[in-house]
Amino acid sequence: MTAGEDRELVARFKSGDQGAFNQLVRLYQKKVYLVAFRMVRDEEEAKDLTQEVFVKMYGALKDFRGEASVFTWAYRATVNLAINQIRRKKIISWVPLLEAEEKPMEEKEGLSEHETSALRKAIAEAVKKLPPKQRAIFILRHYDELSNEEIAKIVGKSVGGVKANYFQALQKMKKHLAPWKSVVTGSVDYELR
C-alpha cells in the first residue's frame, strides 16, 4: 500500500464512503496490533488498544490534510496510546492488579518447553525494563524495521535522538539477555533465570 493509495482511501472516506474506512482498518489492523502487543505485552490490552487506535483515527481522519501518511498516523497513535497505558498502569500499580496470563509461544528448536517459556519471559522482562519511549523506538526499529526518519516522526524526537535511544536500548537488551546468548549458539553452558 503506497501513501498515494492511502490518500485515495482517505479522500473516499471524507466524501462519505464508509467502506473506505473499513479498508484502511483492514490494511493496518495487524501491524497496529503487533506494535501494541510488543509495547504492553498483554494480548487483551493490545486488542483493546488496537480498537482504540482506529476509533481515534475515525475521528481524526475528517481533518486529515495529508501532511503525514496514514501509516505514520496509525503508528504514532499506537505508540502514544500504549505509552499512556503503561504510565497509567504504573501510576495505579498500588492497587492490586491481576497478573497477565502467560501465553504459550512457539517452541524454539533445541529448547525444551520450559526453556522456551523462560526465554520468552526474559525477553518480555527485558523489553519492560526499557523506558516507554525507548521501548517504542526499539520495537519500531527492530521489529518493524522502520527508518530513523520515520521513527522520529512517529515518536516526535529528532533523528539523532532516535539513533541514540535505539543504541541505548540495544545495549540494555544485550545486557539483560546476556545469560541467554549461548542458548542460540548451541552451547549447553547457560543458566535459566
Binding site: V25, T50, Y58
Partner: protein
C-alpha cells in the same frame, strides 16, 4: 580502521540477517575483528528476539475487527432518548435505586467517602460477590482515564498526540494519590 563509519550499518536489524549490504561494509566486516565480534553479538540478540512471536488472534477475529471498531465508535456517539431499551433501562435503574435505598436503611454501611481507595478495595473485596473483579480498581482506572483526558484536552496539539507533559503527569499523580471513592 574506520569502524565508526559502519557503526550505524552494524546496528541495522536487516544487516544482521542478510548479506545484501553495501560492499564496503561487507569487506570491512570480513577484515575487522572488532566489527566481526559486534556483528556476531547483534546476530545472537536478533536470533533470541525472533523467539518472541506475539500471540496473534486468529483470522476470524480480524474478519470482524472493523465491525468491532464500528461498534465502539457508535457506542460513543450516544443514543436517542426514545429508544425503548433506554426506557426499560431507566425503569430498572429507578427500581434498583429504590431497592438500594431500602437496603441501605436496613443495614448501615461504613462511609466509603471517608476511606482511601485501598481501604475501600479491602472492604468491598470482602463484602461484594463480584467474582474477583475489584470494584475500586475499576473505579480508580476510570477516574484515571477521565482525569488524564481532562488534562490532555488542555493541550493544543495534533489530535493524535496524547502525551502528557511532565507537569501534567505530576498533577495526575497527585490527583490519583488523593483520590477517594
Amino acid at each position: 580502521m574506520n569502524c565508526d563509519r559502519f557503526e550505524e550499518e552494524l546496528e541495522k536489524p536487516g544487516s544482521w540477517q542478510t548479506t545484501q549490504t553495501d560492499d564496503d561494509f561487507t569487506r570491512h566486516r570480513s577484515e575487522c575483528p572488532i566489527c566481526q565480534k559486534k556483528f556476531a553479538e547483534y546476530a545472537r540478540l536478533s536470533e533470541l528476539l525472533k523467539s518472541d512471536a506475539p500471540p496473534m488472534p486468529d483470522d476470524s477475529y480480524w474478519a470482524v475487527f472493523p465491525a468491532l471498531v464500528r461498534e465502539r465508535i457508535e457506542s460513543r456517539k450516544g443514543r436517542p432518548i426514545w429508544k425503548p431499551a433506554l426506557v426499560w433501562g431507566s425503569g430498572l435503574a429507578a427500581l434498583l435505586l429504590v431497592a438500594g435505598i431500602f437496603l441501605f436503611q436496613r443495614s448501615p454501611k461504613p462511609d466509603l467517602q471517608k476511606m482511601t481507595a485501598v481501604e475501600a478495595f479491602d472492604y468491598l473485596s470482602a463484602s461484594n460477590g463480584t467474582g474477583g473483579i475489584s470494584l475500586p480498581e475499576m473505579t480508580l482506572t476510570s477516574y484515571a482515564v477521565q482525569a488524564e483526558d481532562e488534562l490532555i484536552s488542555k493541550n493544543e496539539v495534533d489530535e493524535l498526540v496524547y502525551n502528557l507533559t511532565e507537569e501534567q503527569l505530576k498533577e495526575l499523580e497527585e490527583r490519583l494519590k488523593s483520590f477517594k471513592l
